[in-house]
């Protein structure tokens, strides 16, 4: 990857082995190829950056080759950013701050401040120069003012006409380089006192020192404001780190600590370009919008230890730098057209090309014939002006003069598209019709079903009635039997009576006849 193509310059700095590492006879795991100053080898893997500073590089060299240019831009009203990244005791503080007040040992920040003040003194007297400092940190996407501990959750205000800024952040005027360091110390003390979990905090919070350099021309009132962000980036988390900090112990009662990372785990799952992740808008990115690409000057300084003991951390630092080197802006241009749609358009263009090609080859053939000395009659000559063969050749010139020679092509290709569209809409229509049919059928089925249910109900009702009747009947039958018997019993005397009567009548008749 050519450095040019990236917006971000990434340099790596290796500190020398420290005393305890030397005592422990720790070896250096890194190798610096003697002919290259941009490459580093660590256990057979090569990393290439814009620059690699070896352990013997002086503070001055590091400043000159990483920050000096940026400072110049800031003084001209542009914005710049310097990130520092590296594990604890990798020399980050030494690189950024160094030994305050020592010419040889002071780090990038004091040198920047010194340079800005030096620049101020060289300016015309009609230029009014002001330097302001803000110092804040971003922890769990909340901005805390380090110069005023009462400001704990400052919003990023995105003014539609201006620079995104931290709303309400304290700004301190400085007139001497020393004051900057005083302010920084004040901020650091505030950071330590306000925090309940320093260990986790420092591994996950970014601190930002913001230097505003503003110049105003007293004659014409023209203002020029440059901003320089100096960002101490928090290390990346990994499962063991988070886990170790919040490991579950009922006694420890800090269980939520590790589970608070659940949101990060979940948001890593979703495809960022198509989704909205609530409250994961990274305040850092917003503030640094301009610094992360385009025309801004951005440098990342990777601070590394060469000791074998820190091998994995060093490797992960370098990996981070490699990724950052090709950092994709959070905001990239989305393409509207899907491949499908492009294809459709492409086909269109292709057809045109194919037609033209055809003409060309016919023309070439004609040309060949001319070359061979043949005469090509007018009728045989290729007509390159009119692509629509259906039109009579005689009217070519006038047609072309009157209209657009490509019009025919466009018309034809758009007809194709039309047809395609039509076909599609027919398909849809058919689809819709089928849908309707299914719908209708489903409705009929529903209706029939309910009828069946109804009939079933009637049937079962009837059966129930029937059963009831049967029961009734069964109950009534013996009753009627007994009643019949009763009746019989009642009737018998009557019959007997009647019989008697008959007999009596007969007797009477007989008697009368006697």
């Amino acid at each position: 990857m050519a450095a040019k193509e990236c917006n971000i310059r990434v340099v790596a700095r290796f500190r020398p082995l420290n005393e305890s590492e030397k005592r422990a006879a720790s070896e250096s795991v890194v190798e610096f190829p003697s002919n290259k100053d941009d490459t580093i080898h660590i256990t057979d893997k090569a990393f290439i950056f814009d620059k690699v500073f070896r352990p013997n590089a002086t503070q001055e060299k590091v400043y000159n080759e990483t920050a000096k240019e940026i400072v110049k831009d800031v003084l001209n009203g542009y914005n710049g950013t310097i990130f520092a990244y590296g594990q604890t005791s990798s020399g980050k503080t030494h690189t950024m701050e160094g030994v305050m007040g020592s010419d040889g040992q002071q780090g990038i920040i004091p040198r920047i401040v010194q340079d800005i003040f030096n620049h101020m003194h060289t300016l015309n007297t009609n230029l009014d120069f002001q330097i302001k400092i803000s110092y804040f940190e971003i922890y769990l996407d909340k901005i805390h003012d380090l110069l005023d501990v009462s400001k704990t959750n400052l919003p990023v205000h995105e003014d539609k006409n201006g620079v995104p800024y931290v709303k309400g952040v304290t700004q301190r005027f400085v007139s001497l380089p020393n004051e900057v360091f005083k302010i920084m110390n004040e901020g650091k003390n505030n950071r330590h006192t306000a925090v309940t979990n320093m260990n986790e905090h420092s591994s996950r919070s970014h601190s930002v020192l913001l230097i505003y350099a503003q110049q105003e021309n007293a004659d014409n009132g023209k203002k020029l404001t440059g901003k320089l962000y100096l960002v101490d980036l928090a290390g990346s988390e990994n499962v063991s780190k988070t886990g170790a900090k919040g490991q579950v112990f009922d006694e420890a009662k800090n269980i939520n600590k590790s589970l608070s990372a659940l949101g990060n785990v979940i948001s890593a799952l979703a495809d960022g370009t198509k989704s909205h992740i609530p409250y994961r808008d990274s305040k850092l990115t917003r503030i640094l919008q301009e610094s992360l690409g385009g025309n801004a000057r951005t440098t990342i300084i990777l601070c590394c230890s060469p000791a074998i003991y820190n091998k994995s951390e060093t490797k992960s630092t370098l990996d981070f730098g490699q990724r950052a080197k090709c950092i994709k802006n959070r905001v990239t241009v989305n393409e509207e057209l899907t491949t499908e749609e492009w294809k459709r358009r492409w086909e269109k263009e292709r057809e045109e090309v194919a037609r033209l090609k055809d003409q060309l080859s016919r023309a070439e053939m004609e040309f060949e014939r001319w070359r061979r000395g043949e005469t090509v009659t007018k009728d045989e000559q290729v007509n390159l002006l009119e692509s629509d063969d259906t039109l009579p050749t005689t009217s070519v010139v006038s047609t072309v003069a009157a209209a657009n020679p490509l019009g025919g092509l466009d018309l034809r290709s758009s007809v194709n598209v039309d047809e395609w569209e039509k076909e599609r809409s027919i398909l849809y229509q058919q689809l819709d019709e089928k849908d309707d049919e299914i719908n209708n059928l489903a409705q009929t089925i529903e209706r029939l079903k309910s009828q069946i249910v109804e009939q079933d109900n009637i049937f079962s009702q009837a059966r129930k009635d029937n059963e009831n009747l049967q029961i009734e009947l069964n109950r009534l039958q013996p009753e009627s039997e007994s009643e019949k018997e009763e009746v019989n019993e009642v009737l018998q005397p009557f019959e007997e009576l009647a019989l008697n009567y008959d007999q009596k009548t007969q007797e009477v008749e007989t008697k009368r006849s006697y």
Binding site: S89, F249, L259, L262, G263, S275, Q289, L411
Partner: protein, 585 residues
């Protein structure tokens, strides 16, 4: 101080105070805690409680392969080791061993930590499920998962996690004591509280698994473990142990999870998650300490719904297109699922938006209106001046919604109107925000605007055949000009801020958009109806720019492979056409 008090002091130092160690003495408290734990080895303890006596009846201490091991025995069986205090003392030793091993692994001596942990494991692995040992086992296995993961041995970690799952399932029938009750069983602790602590430890196991699968890029598995974690948190909330539960966080995580399922085309699950998220926010008191946070989150969830609608429409049209291409029923491409993969235990209202794929304009319109409503209310929080990025994103979503709706619309006239809406929306924004400070946003807006012009132009050209009126022709010429100027403005944002010159080389992520912009411009020029000669020449020039760039930067060819070959052919053929046009003149 009693033994227990000394132990608790060490634990506090190890897990609470250590959090505040300074960067220069990162492990100060850990090392101090280790010393405290080590001192406890020599302290003689003789705790004789009935409870302890009872628990040790089922635990025997044997010697196997030169190592003391705990094994489970039936209470009526005769134990080999009869002395309760001997067993008790050995178990306490293992507890101290465990803490010290954990400190080793927390202080970057993970290999040492691991071998110590494994040694403890050998001593207890035949009695993992004993009530006294359960918590120790679970914590120990969790610690091993962390160590294996830190060595990037993810499959080992998953194996250990399976053991943990087994342990958890078997623990459901017993009552696991707390870790510290290995020293002294505290009868004042409720069984529920013990269970809850144990459950929380296991929740962490699942949470670690979510992260491990995330590292293995097995997103579905990872999502599933995230879901299980959320489910367990919710169970805690529902059973009223709300002290460890933050409805605000839970709702946010749940809404975020919905975005995963949504981008995975599982709209039923996505909808369920989002509805749960909305529902859970109701549990956040409106006098929440940070009131603005609640308003922000409510607006933020609305944006999740907007993305849901955009994706549903977009997936639906893709599905129909694929079905049409392959001449099959859309259900053969992908079937709508109406039941979510899981259900959080929350009582939800009936859904107000479908989760089935869209088939026609009417259905699409319902989704569109639903989303527009969400956009409008989200915009009342994310106002332009103050929330530029968010506001613009909402406008871009609106534009996307229109463009998705266009697919389902059949009337060209109405299609045109929808694109016109997009153009109005985007061009207004372009006029309002500062290009200097919102460069990326501006580029996005300009590119999309240019594409809108191109689509509208294509539609108008189709119409031209039907209408062929002067008015349409005029409109076409106007659109063409606007399209060209929009893409040119897009290209000018790439120029160097100081020199105003075109860069020699574009950043990788911009190669395609930039070359496409030239491609679009070339196309626009070829659509002009008058001044054919000049315009075709312009078109040719644009094709040449693309080909020249790619020839100079061979790496960029992969970004624009197909278009590149067209450009090449056009460069061969357009001069021919131009020549002929000149002849006619």
């Amino acid at each position: 101080m009693t033994f227990l008090e000394r132990y608790l002091t060490a634990v506090d130092k190890c897990y609470v105070q250590s959090l505040n160690d300074s960067e220069t003495e990162l492990y100060k408290s850990k090392y101090e805690a280790r010393k405290l734990f080590e001192e406890l080895y020599d302290v003689d303890i003789d705790d004789k409680s009935d409870n302890l006596e009872k628990e040790f009846q089922t635990l025997d201490l044997i010697e196997e392969d030169d190592k003391k091991k705990f094994i489970m025995i039936q209470s009526d069986e005769q134990a080999k080791e009869l002395s309760v205090s001997k067993k008790h003392r050995y178990l306490i030793h293992l507890l101290l061993d465990y803490h010290i091993a954990a400190i080793y692994s927390d202080t970057e001596e993970r290999s040492e930590g691991e071998s110590r942990l494994r040694s403890i494991l050998t001593s207890i692995e035949q009695a993992l499920y004993h009530p006294l040992l359960c918590s120790l086992s679970l914590n120990l296995l969790n610690q091993l998962i962390l160590i294996r993961t830190s060595f990037e041995q993810y499959n080992d970690a998953i194996e250990i996690a399976k053991q943990t799952e087994d342990l958890y399932n078997k623990s459901l029938v017993i009552e696991p004591y707390l870790l510290r009750e290995i020293i002294h069983i505290d009868t004042s602790i409720q069984a529920d509280d013990r269970r809850q602590e144990f459950e929380q430890t296991y929740t962490h196991t699942l949470f670690y698994l979510a992260q491990i699968y995330g590292k293995l890029d097995q997103k579905n598995e990872s999502a599933n473990y995230c879901r299980l974690t959320l489910e367990r948190q919710l169970t805690m909330f529902n059973t009223n142990h709300s002290k460890h539960f933050d409805p605000f966080d839970w709702a946010t995580n749940c809404a975020t999870l919905s975005q995963y399922y949504m981008t995975n085309h599982d709209f039923a699950t996505a909808r369920h998650c989002l509805m749960c998220a909305d529902k859970m926010l109701e549990n956040v008191p409106s006098n929440h300490a940070e009131n603005d946070k609640l308003a922000e989150r409510i607006a933020s969830f609305k944006r999740c719904w907007v993305k849901y609608a955009v994706n549903l429409l977009s997936d639906s049209s893709d599905r129909l297109l694929q079905a049409a291409d392959r001449d099959v029923n859309p259900n053969e491409i992908v079937r709508s699922s109406t039941t979510p993969q899981f259900q959080f235990k929350l009582s939800l209202p009936s859904p107000t938006i479908t989760c089935s794929f869209i088939l026609d304009y009417d259905q699409a319109r319902q989704v569109f209106l639903f989303a527009m409503d969400k956009i409008d209310s989200a915009k009342s929080y994310y106002i332009l001046d103050g929330f530029v990025t968010d506001h613009v994103e909402l406008c871009q979503d609106t534009s996307q919604l229109y463009s998705k709706l266009v697919f389902f619309e059949s009337s060209i006239d109405r299609k045109c109107k929808m694109h016109k809406r997009r153009i109005d929306l985007l061009s207004t924004l372009c006029g309002e925000i500062s290009e200097e400070h919102y460069l990326y946003i501006m580029r996005q807006l300009l590119f999309e605007l240019g594409e809108c012009y191109s689509m509208l132009l294509d539609l108008k050209l189709e119409q031209k055949n039907d209408l062929n009126s002067n008015k349409t022709i005029e409109k076409i010429s106007h659109l063409t000009k606007l399209g060209i100027s929009t893409f040119e403005r897009f290209l000018s944002t790439m120029n160097d801020k100081k020199t105003k010159e075109k860069p020699e080389t574009y950043a990788d992520e911009y190669v395609r958009p930039v070359l496409l912009a030239h491609f679009y411009i070339a196309r626009f020029y070829s659509k002009f109806i008058d001044s054919r000669l000049e315009n075709l020449q312009q078109s040719l020039n644009q094709y040449k720019i693309i080909v020249n760039y790619v020839d100079k930067h061979p790496n960029s060819r992969e970004y624009i492979e197909q278009e590149y070959s067209i450009c090449k052919e056009m460069i061969d053929l357009l001069p021919l056409k131009l020549e002929k046009l000149r002849q006619i003149k």
